[in-house]
């Protein structure tokens, strides 16, 4: 069942305080954040480091709990969604298990869920992330970009209700990162899974998302919520359009208001 708004992800009035020695009330990391993600929507959470965007994502995944406020995924608690393997996650740490091959790493969610491994599904995903021929390779023999491809494939293997991405390409060089964003856009267009992406890269957010939620730091608050107007599928040329550059410039300014004063 869905929440009253029918949102796939509904964060309502979420506050998070972290305990700090000598400060009885703790440090306010997130201040009354409300955010809805509609089914099939790709939302990018954009903000400077330390604005609490990763904490929001971790709360959505059930890895952290709000001090006050509620988090619902398809109307349920994150724990309930995790228990039936409703999440697909890819974080900056690729978290590939070094003792498993590419194929077995992608098959891991099936095994954890106690479901029969669907080899056809795995082969299709390996083809989707363009790793055909590397099925039996171990993570240590792959490049950083290839490891993140495996990570994305593993996140998608159980056809999750919600895809949660936290700077999945953050550790990659600029050229590989741009290429991986092209790939992610292509993959996402084929699946249209409800996605929440955490990033501090403006270009990445603009190229991938349907909507960008800009956050400011200390404490983390939602500063802007703007739709991205570019039609899908987006060719790489979108990044050269004047409108793209205008939005990019204004978002960069929005991320550092104090530098602009």
């Amino acid at each position: 069942m869905s929440g009253p708004s029918g949102a796939a992800i509904a964060l309502h009035d979420v506050t998070r305080r972290f305990p700090l020695k000598g400060v009885p009330e703790g440090v306010l990391a997130l201040d009354r954040v409300t955010l809805d993600v509609q089914p099939g929507e790709f939302v990018a959470l954009l903000g400077p480091s330390g604005c609490g965007k990763s904490t929001l994502l971790r709360m959505t995944a059930g890895l952290d709990t709000p001090s006050t406020g509620t988090v619902r995924v398809g109307g349920e608690t994150p724990a309930a969604v995790a228990a039936r393997q409703g999440f697909g996650v890819a974080f900056q740490d690729h978290a590939l298990l070094p003792w498993l091959t590419v194929r077995d790493n992608i098959a891991l969610p099936f095994r954890v869920a106690g479901k029969p491994v669907n080899q056809g599904r795995i082969a299709a995903l390996i083809a989707l992330v363009k790793l055909t021929g590397f099925e039996e390779a171990f993570p240590r023999n792959l490049s950083g970009g290839m490891r993140q491809r495996v990570n994305i494939a593993r996140a998608l293997v159980l056809q999750p209700e919600v895809l949660l991405l936290d700077e999945p390409f953050g550790a990659l060089d600029a050229v590989t990162r741009r290429h991986m964003n092209l790939e992610l856009q292509r993959i996402w267009t084929e699946t249209r899974t409800t996605t929440l992406l955490v990033t501090h890269a403006v270009e990445e957010a603009l190229f991938l998302a349907d909507r960008i939620v800009v956050m400011t730091g200390r404490p983390g608050r939602v500063a802007q919520d703007l739709p991205v107007p570019f039609a899908r599928p987006r060719p790489v040329e979108v990044m050269r359009e004047e409108r793209f550059h205008e939005m990019q410039d204004s978002l960069v300014l929005a991320l550092e208001p104090e530098a602009h004063d």
Binding site: A61, G62, L63, A82, A83, R84, Q85, F87, V89, F91, Q92, D93, H94, A95, L96, L97, P98, W99, L108, P109, R111, V112, A113, G114, L164
Partner: protein, 249 residues
């Protein structure tokens, strides 16, 4: 021949030098064979008395093997217990540290009362010697997870059992291999010390008997065999460790 000999000399010249120095020292100083026999005489005693050495070696090896496997399983089992429960960790960790800091020699009379002056006590001693590294390294290894993997398993709704079998145990493999290497090198020595102190059976008892008969060649022969086999076990387990690191690290 040259191909085999060269690396052998390169890796073992230190030990060869030691044996040569030993031989030279005994020959030159003219020491009595009861005080210090020549290494060649010790080797000759082993070679001509294999029917005496081999059964004793078999008993010692069997005790060491049972003790090593037993101690390893016990250490791993308790390591998993401390991984699974903080209450168990709080109870077990101080007790095992306390136990391991008691000299084994002082435990032998107590254990001998419990298990009898025989192979049972020898096995018990080797269990105690092998247990501690297995416990310490498995406790550490079960927590040395690849970055981000614990979060991944949580988001996938994995059960504790699934986390243990699919994540923590494979991640602990390199550490377990270190524990095996330390245990393997010491298990036979521990068995021999126990046999020596109780004078029951095996190479340790053989050493004790030879010593009291002033048969120094025999006593040193027993020691030499134990040293050589311990070294071999150590080198073999080093191989296992390299493999575990390459496969699971």
């Amino acid at each position: 021949m040259d191909r085999l000999l060269r690396p052998f000399i390169r890796d073992w010249w230190g030990i060869l030098l030691l044996l040569l120095a030993w031989q030279a020292w005994v020959v030159l100083s003219g020491l009595n064979a009861i005080v210090m026999p020549r290494p060649l005489d010790v080797v000759a005693d082993i070679a001509t008395n294999l029917p005496v050495y081999l059964p004793a070696l078999g008993i010692s090896l069997a005790a060491a093997a049972f003790g090593l496997v037993g101690g390893f399983m016990l250490g791993l089992g308790l390591g998993i217990l401390t991984w699974a429960s903080t209450i168990a960790a709080g109870m077990l960790t101080p007790v095992t540290v306390l136990f391991s800091s008691v000299p084994v020699v002082t435990l032998i009379p107590i254990l001998a009362r419990l298990f009898g002056y025989g192979p049972g006590t020898v096995v018990a001693i080797t269990v105690i010697i092998s247990f501690f590294p297995a416990f310490v390294f498995s406790s550490a290894g079960l927590r040395a997870l690849p970055p981000g993997s614990a979060d991944l398993f949580r988001v996938l709704g994995a059960s504790r059992w699934r986390v243990l079998t699919s994540l923590a145990l494979p991640a602990a493999m390199p550490n377990l291999a270190v524990a095996l290497r330390i245990g393997a090198a010491h298990a036979l020595l521990a068995a021999m010390v126990a046999e020596y102190l109780m004078g029951s059976s095996g190479l340790g008892a053989m050493f004790a008997a030879a010593k009291s008969e002033l048969n120094t060649e025999r006593a040193l022969g027993a020691s030499l065999i134990v040293a050589a086999i311990s070294l071999t076990l150590y080198l073999l387990s080093l191989r296992v460790e390299h493999w575990a690191r390459a496969r699971y690290g």
